[in-house]
């Protein structure tokens, strides 16, 4: 364990996904001494890079909200147990604003319509409804809105992206799209290249100049160029500006399958900014258990390699995610919370976890299973009282939401993290 870690801090955040990062950010911004430990490996690699707030509600009607705030109001009324309903519009708004400001200061700009949702073209040629997108994706949003003549390029040897697929699929809604494949193979080492390897190659100025040179003759009137979101592991905004300078038209990134380069950038930018603000991020550490004394959590046992150490804090934020993140685990009969065996709201039998059809618009009931919390975001027991006085839960581990279907994942992570940190501060007085 790193020697420089304070053994007793204000807040320990367990989980290194978006909710855990957001909780750490809000804690540090409020002057709390904070340690963040992971719960499993980097879920952020799976994030598209875009920040959703609320796209669809009610899911069974597939109603899309171009004004997410009106959507959140309606949702809070219809589903009073949805975590958004515990927060209120103003808190959610403050949370989102503060988070986006933090990213801006960390070197990652996010863009969006002032009050509205954005429609973001994906690599599948579908349109994702989202709230804020990385600066490098924004010209794709405006270009789609204005239906500008655009060229989508991809790279020979890149298996997760087909510009042709995107254009064929999106063509009816975005006429004037064209696609071209560039031979880029020599520039990228390795036998089986993933997005991260592609991004690594594009870190080189020389390679980007080659790329611009290859695209230029293909422009033929295109006012916009879209490329897979692999425009460098860092400094993507500068790289996009560099390409735009060389080509004379804006260049935008298109979100891809995992591993997601914008997800890697997001995580790295947050980590760097948090470290510079004095947060302790236990790299490679994993919370294995929580010590409790009556209704209080007093310490977190962290495993790092072969070593175990107990860290103490006044409050603990559980941001451990769901099944993929490791916060929940299911046997054949029951769903459990993995660290403290907290009570999990869940359907009665496995038959009811999933519906017979994968794409049933109502979503699968298991995705609304999770921790129920009180108004301070403390998980509650069967008596409805908080299980522990100083334990808070945030993000996707919470019950009564289906972030994948409602398109509310980032908003849920960020706003509940905000709410939990506010509760901690308020309660401490």
């Amino acid at each position: 364990m790193a020697e420089n870690i304070e053994k007793k801090v204000d807040l320990i955040v367990i989980g290194a996904g978006l909710a855990g990062m957001a909780a750490t950010i809000f804690a540090v911004e409020n002057g709390l001494t904070t340690i963040q430990v992971g719960s499993s490996v980097g879920e952020m690699l799976f994030a598209s890079g875009a920040l959703d707030l609320l796209g669809i509600h009610p899911v069974e009607q597939q109603k899309e909200w171009l004004d997410p705030w009106a959507g959140v109001s309606t949702l809070s009324r219809d589903c009073p147990k949805h975590p958004y309903a515990l927060l209120g519009l103003e808190s959610i708004r403050r949370a989102m604003d503060q988070f986006v400001d933090f990213l801006e200061n960390a070197g990652l700009s996010y863009r969006g319509w002032p009050e509205g949702n954005a429609l973001l073209p994906t690599c599948a040629g579908t349109i994702k409804i989202t709230y804020r997108v990385p600066q490098t994706m924004w010209p794709g949003v405006t270009g789609f809105k204005q239906k500008l003549p655009a060229l989508i390029v991809d790279f020979q040897g890149m298996k997760d992206f087909s510009a042709r697929q995107m254009v064929e699929t999106l063509g009816s809604r975005w006429p004037g799209l064209r696609s071209r494949r560039l031979d880029f193979t020599r520039q990228v080492p390795g036998v089986d290249r993933d997005n991260a390897l592609m991004a690594e190659a594009l870190n080189s100025q020389e390679v980007r100049t080659d790329l611009a040179g290859a695209i230029r003759p293909l422009l033929q009137g295109a006012e916009l160029v879209g490329i897979p979101a692999v425009l460098g592991l860092r400094e993507s905004e500068a790289f996009a500006a560099d390409l735009e300078g060389q080509l004379g038209v804006p260049v935008f990134e298109i979100p891809t399958m995992p591993p997601s380069v914008p997800g890697i950038r997001l995580k790295e930018a947050m980590e760097q900014a948090l470290r510079s603000r004095g947060a302790n991020l236990v790299a490679g550490g994993r919370a294995v258990s929580v010590n409790t004394e009556r209704r209080c959590c007093v310490g977190v046992v962290v495993q790092q390699g072969a070593y175990q150490e107990t860290l103490e804090a006044e409050g603990i934020v559980l941001a451990t995610g769901r099944f993929l993140g490791g916060g929940l685990d299911a046997s054949r009969t029951v769903i459990r919370e993995t660290l403290l065996d907290l009570q999990v709201h869940q359907p009665e039998r496995r038959e009811a976890w999933h519906r017979p059809h994968f794409l049933d618009p109502r979503g699968h009931p298991v995705n609304r299973a999770g921790l129920e919390v009180d108004e301070l975001f403390r998980p509650v027991g069967s008596d409805g009282r908080s299980a522990f006085e100083n334990l808070f839960a945030v993000g996707s581990v919470l019950a009564h939401q289906d972030w994948m279907r409602m398109k509310c994942g980032a908003g849920l992570a960020i706003s509940t993290a905000y709410g939990a940190v506010q509760s901690f501060i308020h309660r401490r007085g």
């Binding site: 089986d192 399958m257 059809h357």
Partner: protein, 513 residues
């Protein structure tokens, strides 16, 4: 269109029959409403039975299995892994049956060597410590997809033709003869009439449905069997429960995985058979008594097939109905050029084909002896990719940077998918994700198509085979179909995997909208 013999159904029987006839110089057309091995031929244990399983209640099938399995090990070695098998009894199993088993095997000429408990545990460390008896038998593992693909490919090389995704819609009669068969392609709805001298109904569980088109009634019994696929292979040999055939009796190796099952549930029709959560739990519990790690291992999917059983006595226990096959001559029903071949087992497919072909040839007035006892099944580059563990070996050896892995779980490179497409394209066969999944390991690994479905779509667009928004529709259809096998095994790590699938395909792509 004209042919000597029209075969309905491209399961292991239909494709085996096509090869048998082709080797005798007979021209065939095979018509299949879905794709190769769409029914029970593609939803079984992949088990080449030594016969030992049937010694008590079906000695005739036991002997057939014994003879055929020995022969197939020589004639189709590329499709077979000669694993050997064990029969084990655990505490509480019927002792009388255990005691009777070696004698029954001997009576039927089936080799069963008693093993010391300790020896059995050394051979198969995954076995339960508490086994009370163990016998070694000559079971083996057979890849039914490769088998049918290679049977059909060889038949095609010899001039036979295959029409997949084409349904038989009716028969044109001329007195006691079927003059021609009407068929319709699912895609585009193109209708074709095929004139054939002989027609063979090899539609497996759907044989009764085909017969209905001719106002014939076949006494079919539909027995659904569900099975589980583990993420990794748990045993070297086929492990059978040493008891009267029952549920969850067999753990069979399937290359890199184990196949665990099965169940036996009576259905009223062969359509839409799906594995249920209750069946999955039953299999885990029952088979776990032999191989305890089954309680904690990861399952990647479940699947179900419908056994086409033929019996006059419809009230009996389905496990007790003979696994023997029937070759029905419909002369007595007033149709002189129709044969139905159904029932039977994967292990006896060759014999079924031989008997049906013998009858076909005698009706055609041909004196052409069966050659499938002497001519080994040909293997080819395009039909080999269903073999688990083959594509990683080939890919790692080549180290070609222009050949990315479309499926990382099973390490299927683009070049393998291209070989499959190179075969399908000129034949104008239906090209979609399911067709590639059937002919390779794409979509069969632990991610169950989360990544490779999309990558394969990308490639199909790049090859110009997909247009417009076909890719999105294909993803919906493919993942929707895989879901039926995934849903009953969603707990533990596979549930986490499903969450990732939904995060990508719904969260990012919005396929549900």
């Amino acid at each position: 269109m004209e042919t000597q013999v029209l075969i309905i159904g491209a399961g292991v029987t239909g494709t085996g029959l096509a090869r048998d006839l082709a080797l005798r110089g007979v021209d065939c057309i095979v018509v299949e409403s879905k794709d190769i091995n769409a029914g029970a031929s593609g939803a079984n244990h992949g088990l080449l039975h030594s016969g030992a399983r049937y010694v008590s209640n079906d000695p005739f099938s036991a002997q057939e299995c014994h003879v055929e399995s020995q022969l197939l090990k020589k004639m189709a070695p590329n499709c077979i892994e000669d694993t050997g098998g064990l029969f084990v009894a655990v505490a509480g199993d019927d002792e009388a049956y255990v005691a009777e088993f070696p004698r029954l095997c001997e009576q039927n000429g089936i080799s069963a060597r008693m093993l010391d408990r300790q020896v059995a545990l050394e051979l198969e460390p995954a076995l339960c410590e508490d086994i009370v008896a163990a016998y070694q038998v000559e079971d083996a593992s057979i890849n039914p997809f490769r088998l049918s693909l290679e049977n059909m490919a060889e038949a095609e090389t010899l001039g036979s033709r295959l029409f997949t995704h084409t349904e038989v819609t009716g028969f044109l009669r001329n007195g006691s003869r079927i003059q021609a068969v009407r068929m319709r392609q699912h895609q585009g709805g193109k209708e074709t009439v095929v004139e054939a001298a002989q027609v063979v109904n090899a539609a497996g569980a759907w044989a009764g449905e085909v017969a209905k088109l001719l106002d014939l009634e076949l006494p079919m019994i539909y027995s659904k069997g569900s099975l589980l696929v583990t993420q990794r292979r748990l045993t070297r040999k086929v492990i059978n429960r040493l008891r009267r055939p029952s549920d969850g009796d067999i753990v069979a190796p399937g290359g890199t995985v184990s196949l665990v099952g099965s169940t036996s549930e009576r259905l009223r029709s062969p359509f839409s058979s799906r594995p249920t959560i209750e069946e999955v739990d039953r299999i885990v519990t029952e088979a776990g008594q032999m191989v305890p790690v089954l309680a904690n291992t990861r399952y990647v999917r479940a699947y179900a097939g419908v056994r086409p059983l033929v019996s006059a006595n419809t009230k009996s226990n389905d496990r007790a109905i003979s696994r023997g096959f029937v070759v029905l001559d419909h002369e007595a029903d007033g149709i002189s050029n129709l044969i139905t071949v159904t029932g039977g087992k994967l292990t006896t497919f060759r014999l079924m084909a031989e008997k049906a072909a013998d009858l076909v040839c005698s009706r055609l007035g041909l004196k052409a002896p069966c050659r499938t006892r002497q001519v080994p099944l040909a293997s080819s580059e395009t039909t080999q990719w269903t073999e688990p563990g083959l594509s990683p070996r080939v890919w790692l050896k080549k180290q070609n940077p222009d050949d990315p892995l479309l499926c990382e779980c099973e390490m299927v490179p683009l070049s393998a998918v291209d070989q499959i497409l190179d075969r399908l394209e000129p034949r104008r066969e239906n090209i979609d994700l399911s067709a590639i999944n059937l002919r390779s390991r794409v979509g069969k690994g632990s991610c169950q198509g989360t990544f490779c479905s999309f990558r394969t779509c990308c490639h199909l667009y790049e090859r110009g085979l997909f247009h417009s928004d076909e890719g999105v529709n294909q993803l919906k259809r493919f993942l929707g179909k895989r879901w039926h096998g995934l849903r009953p095994v969603l707990w533990g790590a596979q549930l986490a995997q499903e969450e990732l699938q939904e995060a990508i395909h719904c969260g990012l792509f919005g396929l549900e909208t």
